[in-house]
């Protein structure tokens, strides 16, 4: 784990007159949230390991604008989105991968109307490609053999963009026992963070949404709750902590599971 990660920026590549294969869009959570930073690092480790030439934007990246737009603030959305598109187009970025389904959705579905056209994939899709192509080989009998894992579909990867199978295929490779919650895939229940809820107090109600979801997960007595979104990661982790189960139930992003399994 002591190996220094090799993470370069688009500016580094441009200075050498080179282009990376893919841009890793880190997002605000992946950049600043202590827990989500670990996912960013895990994902970079995998990219380093398989030898994909990638870059990040570093300080030239801004929020995609998803929470501002969904809160209703189109001005702030347009400002940050158009700034990002300027930067991306300046570097002639063609392919983007991101570990955040909200960034994924906005880059993929909303930037085209503003003049930003890119081939955008979510990191679970890239991970599946790498596994299918034999570039990631799972260590047999790894850390997770036989463990009970339940997978929480994020709304913006799942129901909104229809990606249900790629993350599940990655989990299958881990030799785990995948147990599904009743509300999964198209019927998946939100973690409660979307639509800019992450940035405000809940409206008055009987229960927090993440508790509703974690209660459902706990019924399955999982060892691990797997997620694909930094906001789901926060919400699910908070839920597990509120149940005082943080010693028994781990919440991990798929990239972290691969890194741990293969001891990267």
């Amino acid at each position: 784990m002591q190996d220094k990660l090799n993470i370069e920026t688009m500016a580094d590549y441009a200075a050498r007159g080179e282009e990376p294969e893919i841009l890793f869009w880190v997002g605000c959570a992946g950049s600043f949230d202590a827990r989500a930073q670990k996912v960013s690092m895990a994902f970079c480790k995998i990219l380093n390991e398989v030898g994909i030439k990638f870059a990040i934007l570093g300080n030239e990246e801004s929020c995609t604008g998803d929470p501002a737009r969904r809160a209703g603030n189109e001005f702030v959305f347009q400002m940050t989105a158009l700034q990002n598109i300027e930067t991306l187009n300046m570097y002639k970025v063609k392919k983007i991968v991101t570990a955040c389904p909200h960034c994924f959705n906005t880059l993929k579905n909303e930037y085209p109307a503003l003049g930003g056209h890119y081939d955008v994939i979510h990191h679970t899709q890239l991970l599946q490609e790498l596994i299918d192509g034999g570039r990631i080989k799972m260590t047999e009998g790894g850390t997770f053999k036989g463990k009970r894992i339940t997978y929480h579909d994020s709304c913006y990867l799942g129901r909104v963009n229809g990606v249900y199978e790629a993350p599940r295929k990655v989990l299958e490779q881990l030799d785990t026992q995948l147990v599904e919650m009743k509300r999964c895939k198209t019927n998946g229940l939100c973690c409660g963070a979307g639509g800019a809820q992450m940035f405000k107090e809940d409206e008055p109600g009987k229960k927090r949404i993440n508790m509703e979801r974690i209660d459902e997960a706990m019924e399955l007595k999982p060892d691990i709750v797997a997620v694909n979104c930094p906001f789901c990661l926060t919400m699910m982790s908070d839920g597990v902590k509120a149940k005082e189960k943080q010693e028994e139930v781990m919440v991990y992003d798929l990239a972290e599971l691969i890194v741990q399994n293969n001891g990267l």
Partner: protein, 450 residues
């Protein structure tokens, strides 16, 4: 002969009343703004076939879908029989198509009869689901008073209709046999008729047959008139509503070009049209505060809604006890459209905008202002609770999108009223000032250097 005249007059009256009421709904839908519906016609037709005709999304919940399908199939096929009833009614005939169609006629009526039995069972199941079983989505706050009664009335109507069909066919069967003409051989009434009416006198049977026939057609007329007052309108509007539903990616919020262009101008990406900016034009209205700001498709959605509540039963906010119920949003939009429509029909000049009150002689969509808005129906608390998870959009069997309306209301609240949850202000400011959702002192790539 008297029968024919009464029938013809009733048909004319029914269609006159219905035409007037359906015109009102058409006008109410058009209270919304124009919106060009883009996309491939082939895909739209495919959606109509699969989702509207095929009931694909209904079958996400198998048991209600199955019983609903019985009623739906019986309803669709009964239309064939209805054609005969109209022909018989206008021309004083009896089973006009029977001689021409022969064995196929027997098959057709038998098929309709079997479906009608299934629909009969389904009617009872649905009455039980609504009134005896504690199915939460039928007992939410918005489902009291008229919406609750409306749901039951249509089922009572269906029950009467089906009783009439079997009385008609059953009595006719016995009459037919008594007249020495043998059995009609219809699947259900050939057995049910003799069982219920066997041994009755010819005159009683004749009265029963006529009562069934008239009862049936009167119920049909009542349905035609009742529909536009009822949530039950979905049986008609589901088809256009699915056809016009959006084909663009679900995750794409409608772009606001006027804001995009202004920001592009500020950033120096495009030439700003200075003259347009300084001409003191009224600021455009952003988002929606009333149904007249919504798209016509949003209002069509509202009139299509049959209040099944599948949206609310999967809404994470609703499940956890928040005030938001996507179904209520749709009902509110419809009720507000009805309210504005009512003012327009009454030409209520009290509802003319203050500044135009002097000269206005007609109340129009353009000069309308009754001092109310959609926010009198839908509270801020409701729209603030949405997580934009799209579960309601996914759940709707007829492709209604409540979330789109919620987001337009949010846009109005933030952009025009500069209101909204105060918790959001730091997030907006951070994005604007530092390009991150949180105010963080660190460099964005600090994590790469640890």
């Amino acid at each position: 002969m008297v029968g024919q005249i009464v029938f013809t007059l009733l048909v004319l009256l029914t269609f006159y009343i219905a035409f007037r009421k359906y015109t009102v709904i058409w006008r109410n839908v058009n209270l919304g703004k124009d919106e060009e519906i883009k996309g491939d016609i082939g895909e739209r037709i495919k959606n109509v076939l699969l989702i509207a005709f095929g009931q694909k999304k209904m079958f996400k919940r198998f048991i209600p879908a199955l019983f609903h399908f019985f009623i739906y199939a019986a309803f669709l096929l009964t239309q064939i029989e209805l054609i005969e009833i109209f022909v018989d009614g206008f021309f004083g005939q009896h089973r006009f198509f029977r001689s021409g169609l022969g064995g196929f006629y027997t098959f057709l009526i038998s098929f309709i009869e079997i479906l009608s039995v299934l629909a009969f069972v389904a009617t009872f199941v649905f009455l039980a689901r609504r009134n005896l079983l504690k199915i939460p989505r039928f007992h939410m706050d918005e489902m009291t008073g008229w919406p609750k009664l409306d749901g039951n009335l249509i089922l009572y109507g269906e029950f009467i209709l089906l009783v009439c069909i079997f009385t008609m066919n059953g009595a006719d069967e016995v009459l037919h046999q008594q007249q020495g003409l043998g059995s009609y051989n219809f699947a259900v009434s050939s057995g049910l008729g003799p069982m219920l009416f066997g041994g009755m006198s010819e005159s009683s049977l004749h009265i029963l047959e006529r009562a069934g026939w008239w009862g049936h057609i009167l119920m049909v007329f009542a349905f035609i008139i009742y529909l536009p007052f009822s949530k039950h309108l979905h049986i008609l509007l589901a088809f256009p509503n699915v056809y016009f539903s959006k084909l663009t990616p679900r995750g794409e919020m409608t772009n606001m070009p006027e804001i995009m262009n202004e920001v592009k101008g500020m950033m120096g990406l495009i030439e700003m049209d200075e003259s347009a900016m300084d001409s003191g034009e009224e600021l455009p209205k952003f988002g929606a505060s009333d149904v007249t700001d919504l798209s016509w498709k949003n209002i069509l959605d509202a009139y299509t809604c049959t209040e099944c509540g599948r949206c609310s039963s999967v809404c994470p906010a609703n499940i956890t006890g928040k005030k938001l119920s996507p179904r209520k949003v749709m009902m509110d939009v419809r009720d507000r459209a009805d309210e504005i429509g009512g003012h327009l029909d009454a030409n209520n000049l009290d509802s003319v905008k203050e500044e135009e009150k002097e000269k206005a002689t007609t109340l129009t969509k353009e000069n309308f202002d009754d001092g109310k808005s959609l926010f009198d129906y839908i509270s801020n608390e409701e729209i603030h609770a949405c997580t934009t998870c799209n579960a309601c959009v996914e759940a709707c069997p007829v492709m209604i999108n409540p979330m789109d309306i919620i987001l337009q209301l949010r846009r109005h609240e933030i952009l025009d009223l500069a209101a909204g949850p105060s918790d959001w202000t730091p997030m907006f400011t951070s994005i604007e000032n530092s390009g991150a959702v949180w105010q963080v002192p660190d460099d964005r790539d600090k994590w790469t250097k640890s």
